[in-house]
């Protein structure tokens, strides 16, 4: 008899779920009903540290900002790998040297591509700006 349960035995668990759910719902509703509200054009405006917001944030801007950020990541990752390699320079020997040359060659190939594309030409002003 010990291990025999009828579905009715689980009713308290169902009740507990109901109480938990209704607590959440009632609390959410009650805070909306009880709490005072402020509204208005200035209240709903974007918070800009007290200044009036100007224009729309979703403007297209030069792709150069993005490219500069990506280039930073490129060299950042390079440094991350170069430091441990430099610390273990002797232990890694020629094998490590060749590996890091391949790694740098891959990165520099990308950098050469970027240079050829003219990403770092700040002076030019093409139509995409």
């Amino acid at each position: 008899m010990l291990n025999q349960h009828v579905p009715f035995d689980y009713l308290p668990i169902l009740l507990q779920f109901l109480v938990a759910a209704s607590f959440v719902i009632i609390t959410l509703l009650a805070t909306h009903m009880l709490g005072p509200k402020a509204s208005g054009k200035r209240h709903d405006d974007t918070f800009e540290c007290g200044l009036d917001s100007v224009g729309n944030a979703r403007n297209p801007f030069s792709v150069k900002y993005f490219m500069t950020a990506i280039l930073f990541v490129l060299f950042d990752v390079e440094i991350i790998f170069l430091y441990p390699w430099a610390v273990n320079f002797k232990a890694l020997g020629w094998f490590g040297y060749i590996e890091i040359v391949i790694f740098l060659a891959l990165l520099m190939a990308g950098f050469y591509y970027v240079l050829r594309k003219g990403v770092l030409n700040w002076e030019t002003r093409d139509d995409n700006d």
Binding site: G35, P36, H43, D45, F47, C49, G50
Partner: protein
Amino acid sequence: MNSQIQMTEAPPGVEGQGFFATRLDSVVGLARKNSIWPLPFATSCCGIEFMATMASHYDLARFGSERMSFTPRQADLLMVMGTIAKKMGPVLRQVYEQMAEPRWVIAVGACASSGGIFDTYSVLQGIDLIIPVDVYVPGCPPRPEQIIDGVMRIQDLIGKESIRRRNSEEYKKLMEEYMIK
């Protein structure tokens, strides 16, 4: 329980075995007053005193205010600390207007309360010219104990405030006086 820990006292109500009944006002007030999120608007030396107030020695967190809010959306208490130049006035006003109700304001120090020693053309002679103020803290600058006392006076106000106050005609009239919509 450790006797050094001070607990909030229960509001007056009817107590019985396994239940406690009291006014909704006092429960809401109790919850609000012990969980104030301050928005520091520090423009000069009173702000430095506020830093000491928040730090470990004075520790405003003991009063439930450790969570400073740097956006007005979640803030309950606007703490104006320092000289407010007339050019800063609209900024302060905008910050106040963007706070969610219920909101309280405390003017810390002589400058925020009355302009202080800066009785000149460029300085606002008290922030209550542009936004309603609940508590003024005197001093130039006030000591952290005074700022804490000001926050405790705010707590008193919050604890006693009726739930209906913000919808009352009196409150609407006050907002109209300041032309705050």
